[in-house]
Structure formats: C-alpha cells, structure tokens
Symmetry: C2
Subunit: 340 residues, 2 copies
C-alpha cells in the first residue's frame, strides 16, 4: 500500500551489515573469478542481502559496466498475431539471457519510428531488431547504423544488414508437394500480389514441386488473388468454372483469408472439401484456419522462431562475434488439418 519513498538499500548498506567492504560485496554478487572469498564471508554477505531485501540497481550496474543489457525491438504494430509472435520469441530468448527488450511500435509512421529509434539509442540498446508484418524490402533511418541491427521478415535493398526471412520457396514447395502426394495433378495457385517476395518465392517452390513430379507448370492455373477473401473468391470461381477436364482439383492459396474466399466458391458449386477440391492455405491464422469447416491445412509463418533467431544473432553481434550467415531463412512448417 504505502509507497516506500525512503531511499532504497544499496550495496554499501549490505557491506556495512556484513562487516565487509562494498568491493567484496560486488565480488560475490558478480562471482568475480580470481577473487578469493571464503565461504564464511560469502555466507555473511548473502545473509545481509537477504535480510535487507537488497536488489542491485540494474541502471547503475549498466552504467558502471558499460553494458546496458537492452535490445530494441521495433515493429509496425503491436496488435495483430504476427508481431505478437515475434515479440514472444524474442522475449523468451532475451530474458533467458538476462537481456531485456525495449519494444516500440512505429504504426507505420516514419516519425514515430525515428522517435522510437532515438529513445532506444538513448537507452544504449546493444542491438536492434526491426520486424515487419509482411515480407518485404525496407530502408532504415540512418541512426540505425549506430548499433548492430538485424531485420526480421524484411531485408534492405542494399543487402548490407543481416536478415531473417521465412523460406517462401520451401513453403510453396511443401504446399504443392502435399497436394501432389494426395494425388492431385492440376493444382490451382491463387497467389498474393505477384510483385512481392512471398508471391515470387512461393511460385518458385510451386513450380519446382510440379517439375519434380514430372508436371509442366501451367501458367493459366496461377492467378493473383490480391490478398483478400473477395479477390480469392473471384479467382477461385474463375478456376472452378473451367471445363471439367481443365479444372483444378486442388487450390493453393496465398493466405488463410484467401482460403476462406476459396472455400465459399467451392461450397457454392456444391463441391466438397477435400473430396472434390483440396485446399492449402498460408499463414496459419489460428482463428481462421482452426475454425473453417473443414479445418484448413496451411503453412505457418515462423514468426516466433524468427524472433528467437533474431535475438540469437543480435547477441552474437553484440558480443563482437562474426555472423555465420548474413541471410537466414527459416522453414515454414506445414500444419495438417482436414482440407487435403
């Protein structure tokens, strides 16, 4: 209830109580190698710490040791499942290392982004994680050069900064492969905006899987759905209204919301999933994929893993170690449900 506005207990208090010098306390607190502390002394000190309820002051420690322990994490938005997963991954990895995350949302506003970056630099972050909600190229404010930076789910055009990206090609490959394995040979691909990396990579994987199966990719089976349920619905209608011999028996959709649109088109025509038409989505938006009927088989974007890996790389960079790989890709796991 009552706020303790009286001065907090410091290391000197502990030292006095234990009958030693402050230096000695610091030594036991930091397990200083080379410092010979008899067990009895150590015990007295730990006891004093306990009795006084002493807590080291992280800020003072950072100042003296010239090591803040902070990493910065800038995302576009905090809300939304993707950013949250990145945060979760990065957090757990960081806290385990006694490092902390200063999180900021740019809200897509360059001014806010710059302000956030300023604050982070003032807090002397030892590294910066910059994450986007969709895989694309970005360019960072100059100030970001002042500190080791790792890009998550994005990359810089110049290719100077290390980055962590989902493996879109393998994602497209795995989706297609799964459908091939189920016996489908005419597989429609309702893709995202064809100009973005996700669309390009997945199409590459899609075509590779087909060729490996001895099938020549038919470009007319690939239609951009422009990332909306309605767009995908239209695209699916187009594909399903072809003459039977020409009609795909499976649809690979650029994301789960698009799969929703495809579901509607399929059901409208009295076709059944997966018996008549199989569907694979992308993104694994739990609330969609797990509640569609039938449940949607889809690929997950590995946001949490990317967050974890980001902190890994940052930790290495902050420690002055070189990076083994400058550009890391992380696999998109296939989540089997009931739509194939």
């Amino acid at each position: 209830m009552a706020t303790n506005k009286t001065q907090r207990v410091t290391m000197s208090d502990v030292a006095r109580r234990a009958g030693v010098s402050r230096t000695t306390v610091s030594f036991v607190l930091n397990d200083k190698p080379g410092a010979a502390i008899p067990d009895e002394t150590r015990r007295r000190i730990l006891e004093a710490i306990d009795e006084l309820g002493y807590r080291p002051n992280a800020g003072a420690r950072a100042l003296a040791a010239n090591r803040s322990g902070w990493f910065g994490l800038i995302t576009e938005i905090v809300t939304g499942p993707f950013a949250a997963e990145v945060i979760t991954g990065a957090q757990s990895r960081a806290w385990g290392d006694r490092r902390f995350l200063l999180i900021a949302a740019s809200e897509g506003d360059p001014a806010q982004e710059a302000a956030a970056l300023d604050q982070m630099l003032e807090h002397r972050v030892e590294g910066l994680l910059y994450a986007t909600t969709w895989h694309r190229a970005v360019s960072l404010p100059k100030a970001a050069r002042e500190v080791p930076t790792v890009l998550v789910n994005c990359y810089d055009a110049a290719g100077e900064l290390p980055c962590i990206l989902p493996d879109e090609v393998s994602g497209g490959y795995k989706a297609t492969r799964r459908l091939l394995d189920a016996g489908h040979t005419r597989i429609g691909f309702i893709n995202l905006d064809p100009a973005i990396p996700a669309a390009i990579g997945r199409r590459e994987g899609y075509e590779r899987a087909l060729r490996e199966a001895g099938i020549t990719p038919d470009p007319s089976l690939v239609i951009p759905g422009w990332a909306t349920a309605d767009g995908a619905y239209t695209a699916a209608c187009e594909l399903l209204d072809r003459p039977a011999a020409d009609r795909p028996t499976a649809l690979f959709c650029g994301n789960d919301r698009m799969a929703m649109g495809a579901y509607d088109a399929i059901k409208e025509r009295g076709l059944r999933i997966p018996h008549d038409v199989a569907v694979v989505g992308f993104d694994n938006q739990e609330l969609i994929a797990a509640y569609l009927r039938p449940k949607l088989t889809t690929l997950a974007l590995p946001f949490e893993a990317m967050g974890t890996k980001g902190v890994d790389m940052l930790a290495a960079l902050a420690a002055g170690q070189p990076l083994d790989t400058h550009r890391v890709t992380i696999d998109c796991p296939l989540l089997e449900r009931s739509s194939v």
Copy 2:
C-alpha cells in the same frame, strides 16, 4: 555496418566543443528554470550537440535524477489479441510521456512471474501494471508491494490494489437492450462459467434491462455454455428446440466463439440470422466477428483503453498524487454488425 565500439560522445565532449562547462550543457538540455542562458550560448551548445551527434545516456540520467522512467507490465501471455491490445494502449500513453514499458509474460507460471517482477524491481520501475486475459481475482507476489501497482482486468481479493475492470454489467445491459430495441422479448442468454465475474456481471445487466422493459427474467432462458463453441452449440440447441411459443428469438452469447456455435445450431434448423433469431456476442474477436456470416454484432472488451488508463493511474501514483477512484470500470462498446 561497422559497430562503433569507440566510446560514445558524452556531455563533457559537448561542453568542450561549445566552450562551456558541462553544467551549462545540462542546464540547457533540461531547460532548467532559473538558469539564465543567453541565446548565443544556447545556440552554440545546441550546435555542438548536433555536430557531435550527442545523445543523452538515459541510464546515467536516471541514476543521477533518481527517476528511472520505467513502468513494468506483466501479462500472462504476449500472444493473443487481448494482451496485445493492453500493450498497445499502455505503450502509446507511456511513450507520449517519455516513459517506457518493461514488458514481461508470466506464461501463467508463478516462477516466471516472480522472476519478471524481480527484474522489474532491479530496473527500478516506478510502477507496475498487472494484466490478465480474463476478468478474475488474482493475488500478487509480495514483492509487488514495493512499488505502486495497478491491476488491469483483474482485482485482488483483499481489494487493496487499484484496479481497472470492464463494465460487465453495462455490457450485459447494452447487449440485452439492443435486442429488446429490435423487438425481441424472449432473449436466451448462453453465459460463461456462471462462477466468474464476467458471467455474474453480465447476467445482472441482462436482467436489469429486461426488468426495465417490463419483462420478468425467465431463469430457464439462461444457460451456461462453458465458454466453448461446442458448449454454446449444445446450449443453443436446447433453447431452439423448445416449443415455438417458448423459444427465444434472440441469443446473447458469452463470447464470439460461443456465438459461432450458436450460429451453427441456428443454421442447422433452417432459421435465419437475424430474421428468425438475432445474435449478440461478446469480446469482438475481429477474426471471428467480422468474418462470420452474417457479421456478428458484439461487445468489445476495452483492453486498449484499460491499458491507457492503467498508465494514467500509474503516472499519478508515481507522482505521489492520490487516486480519485480506486476501482475504475470501463465501458464495453457495442459494435453493430449484421446479426441483430
């Protein structure tokens, strides 16, 4: 690219460059009232700051000023829409005040929670926000008493800590009222676990709205759906299979997922929403409510507002001001879509 491992520029560097003392620099940086700084001097200093790219060291400043600028935020999980909204609200309010949020997730594990709290206290947070994903009673580790604490979406049994809660009663009232206004008089209520505050409060609002409309609440119309889509489906079946004269023409569901289950039961029976049966949900889970057919009218839990208000209260407490209200309730807005 290259990490700048050379020592960063400090205030002394700025002072030297500007030909003044460090104290003077500090004065202009902090707009010290009572310090007479001629414009010319101020200009020189600002110029030096700019040329050198000086950034104040937030940690050192905190140490000297004995004011960390940190608030702690402990949630159960970071993933999931609710926590993210609280974070968003708290963040925006905090950053605007040049305060920062040290965010941690307990993952429901008391050990992690205690560890997080320890770290926060070591970082000398000036206040603590403790948020849960669902409205309930909690008990905090003793250590939380060392710093002003505000509970978000929860309360302590002893009623000692200030808390911010959604106004469940008004939520239940508004939902029911909306249905009454649409002409319904027999309104089924598929409630959550009847022992939790949300269920109790909403039922109170539900009954009050009915009474105000001159309708005596019929207990047989209130059924717990146990917070699952399946449970709600069963409950809805039970209500809809009554003799016509006895059957509700509207269903108020404890959450959006439960509304999904109710939708299924309604559609199975060839009834139409909202013509034959109207539905109101709760929680406004975007991915469900906005994509159900028809779109679901529901009440939103005001997580973002609660986060904002939490920081407000913390700021007041940290400044030593008394709180006007110990227990704040925040309204749940009704989001009109197409299911009523």
